[in-house]
Amino acid sequence: MKRFYPFWIIDPVGTEKKIDDLSEKGYRLSDMNFFGLMSFEEAAPQKKKHCIVLEKGGLPRGAQLRGWECLCQKKLFYVAANEDASETMSYASYIKIHSYAKVAIFTVICFYIGMCAGMLGALSDMDVAVIPPEKAAELVRNIICALALIVLTVVVHMCGKKIPKEDLRLSGALKTIPAENFVYSAEEEKQMLKDGRMMKKMRPGWFYEPDRAAEYVNRQNEQGWRFYRFDAAGVTFYFVKEDAPVRQTFVVDFQGLASDEYYVTAKDDGWKLEFTSISRTMGYSIWTKLYGEDEQKPEFYSDIQSEYARAKKFLIVFGLSFLLLLLVSVSMVGIAVKIGSQGDNVAFMIYLSVIYVILVIEYGLFLSKIIGYFVRVKNKMKK
């Protein structure tokens, strides 16, 4: 018997449930390809838990000892089954796939919207009666594709909700600030701010200089202020007043798409997750750790090579993004000035130029901070 589940990659949990049901009805999975075409062979009905794992290399040895059996294996994934329903496999790979899928779909949507905008712009000067039918059909087709992709994004998002919440919470994908970090209620915080037992400091753009942000927190620590939490946007620092200077390590770490292993290892080692970005592709996390007077300062990176690798990744991802935005903004200023100088929509073009000049300054500032951080780490490595 053959079954076709083309959306298995965006709905792995739902697909596994379907394979579970077929196993109970006496169909054992024997093969599956990347497009979701599955082959089943008749077997004795068995209640089994199935798991699709997006990992190369096949079923690990330890999982085999826990009763997992590999039903089929391909280059990028494998399907395993276990008679014990309490046994689990990691969903970390799904979280990664979901993030990639969302970014890919979002990029294609932007492309289609751009196409539609371009076509509308080109057609707006034409008389409706003389618009060639093939152009109109192309525009309609692009609009339909963009709408279909928006629907697909919603479907991907809904399917992502089926992933066990524990896995999502573990990886920090559920909230930017873990709920347990809010030790005080909103009223208590308000009162503490009034009493001077809590202070909040806004520092836009601090994120692009992780080393200087850590120095800033340490300066506050020396005056007895303990970092408490961020606001939801990650821009405002909240500190709580302690009786004596505080010994606290503050780390901004950039890992891109980190697996659960990353979060678990850090938490096991006593690090407290303070913030994790919503964007998983540009994923960064902020960690703190308190330590005693007789203890050595804990380091998130114990060797300079790892720190340099992080700074390099930071420079490539964020540096290139801001460089691109900077170039686009500079071009936009040029275009606005050119159009304005021709006497068309002068007021609007001045307004547009001012907006883009502000953006150029902002992006340039962020870019210089990112490059500065990279240079400092590179110099540290040379010493």
Binding site: P60, S90, L170, D260, E261, T265, D268, D269, S306
Partner: protein, 98 residues
């Protein structure tokens, strides 16, 4: 090979997860080497890509790693290299003192 990579390979004589490796290395070196969480995660990811280690088990909590045959071979070579460096130093020092 970096000291971090060497100790990670050495500790994976039996399957261990990230924090388990960190604890083992700290014990082995009398707390001289405390591997940071970021360092461990980055090094494990790279070593897995290079085929030196592999996933031993993958549960919803932790990824447990083990050394591959290639990893064992590389470790043997590195140990041999360190032994020969040690022998050379001893030889020079003994020669200098005699």
């Amino acid at each position: 090979m970096t000291e971090t990579a060497l100790y990670i390979l050495l500790s994976l004589g039996e399957p261990r997860h990230g924090y388990g490796i960190s604890k083992y290395v700290a014990e082995l070196t009398d707390d001289r080497i405390k591997l940071g969480s970021g360092t461990i995660y980055g090094t494990l990811t790279k070593m897995q890509k290079d085929g030196l280690i592999d996933i031993y088990d993958n549960t919803d909590k932790r990824t447990v790693y083990e050394r591959t045959d290639i990893g064992s071979e590389i470790l043997d070579r590195e140990v041999h290299r360190i032994e020969s460096v040690y022998d050379n130093i001893r030889h020079v020092r003994t020669g200098a003192s005699s």
